[in-house]
């Protein structure tokens, strides 16, 4: 199948390939896969304290379109707020990369990966807040017991 120029460009020079520390509280990791074709994609975001995605990395094992979709996705979400990144639609990727109908699922995978990275980040942050709150109330009880 003939790939569009933009797909070839991203597939040959993928941006933001790599990993971020998944144990970092400011990093969210999305891991998705396409059972229909066997592609796996990991997309990670590093979020600043004011809720801006300051870095994004990905690693995709799949076809050129899947690599291009995730490469483009990381480019687009960098510098965006979580809400902005979350509203990114796969159709925008399809349009930008000129993906043919049989490759639309690659863009869906990239959208899923962003959403799942954001969900992972939010879950981590919520767990952290809970831990802090639990710590505080524990301290309070100790204090009042004294």
């Amino acid at each position: 199948m003939a790939y569009s120029e933009k797909v070839v460009e991203h597939a040959e020079n993928p941006r933001n390939v790599g990993t971020l520390d998944k144990d970092d509280a400011n990093v969210g990791t999305g891991l998705v896969g396409a059972p229909a074709c066997g592609d796996v994609m990991r997309l990670q975001i590093k979020v600043s304290n004011d809720g801006i995605i300051e870095d994004a990395k990905f690693k995709t094992f799949g076809c050129g379109s899947a690599i291009a979709s995730s490469s483009l996705a990381t480019e687009w979400i960098k510098g965006k707020s979580l809400d902005e990144a979350e509203s990114l639609k796969n159709s925008a990727i399809v349009e930008e990369l000129n993906l043919p109908p049989v490759k639309i699922h690659c863009s869906v995978l990239a959208e899923d990966a962003i959403k799942s990275a954001i969900a992972d980040y939010r879950q981590k942050q919520a767990a952290l807040r809970e831990a802090v709150a639990a710590g505080k109330s524990k301290n309070e009880t100790t204090i009042s017991a004294e």
Binding site: L31, G33, A34, P35, A36, C37, G38, F61
Partner: protein, 180 residues
């Protein structure tokens, strides 16, 4: 829907007698060959042509484990495809990502023995999956729509491992080319 097993005259099941299937394909193709229908009526000739096409397609399905499994799920009444199959479990994805990364590392380290180790692991996973498919779909007993639907996730796993296997072959070929 084409029943590739019936079309080739072999028992419906995941475990197949490849030689028998290949032989039936050859004999059916020969019997349906256009040369044998030179003097026949156009309708008769067209019927033979379309049957020959079905026989070829049936053989392509049956000889490919993924397409064979998909056909069995469909024949059992389950819907196969992107939107109907369940999302892959996160733990499986994590395992797959690790496997693909270890292959990637072995490739850049130019470490054929590491690739061979991963390859053996993938082979054993594929063998286990194939055993499960053979149990689900055998000539004696075949899964109903409900049971097949519940096992659809296995089809995804089969494709993930088959894909990894393709990559392994590509890496091994690249190693051989570099060595030669």
């Amino acid at each position: 829907m084409l029943d590739p097993f019936a079309r080739l005259g072999i028992p419906r099941g995941f475990a197949i007698d490849r030689k028998a299937a290949e032989k039936n394909h050859r004999e059916l193709s020969r019997a349906l060959h256009p040369d044998r229908y030179l003097g026949a009526a156009p309708a008769e000739r067209n019927r033979a042509l379309s049957e020959a096409a079905d026989v070829n397609e049936a053989w392509r399905i049956v000889r490919d484990p993924i397409r064979r499994a998909e056909a069995l799920f469909r024949l059992a009444g389950a819907t196969v495809g992107e939107t109907s199959e369940p999302k892959t479990a996160p733990s499986f994805l994590m395992e797959m990502m690790e496997l693909r990364e270890s292959l990637d590392e072995a490739k850049s380290r130019k470490d054929p023995s590491a690739v061979t180790r991963v390859s053996a692991e993938v082979d054993s996973k594929l063998a286990t999956l194939e055993q499960r498919f053979a149990k689900l779909f055998s000539a004696e007993r075949t899964a109903d729509a409900h049971e097949a639907g519940a096992a659809l996730g296995l089809l995804g796993e089969l494709r993930f491992y088959a894909r990894a296997k393709e990559t392994i072959r590509e890496i091994q070929e690249a190693f051989e080319d570099a060595g030669a």
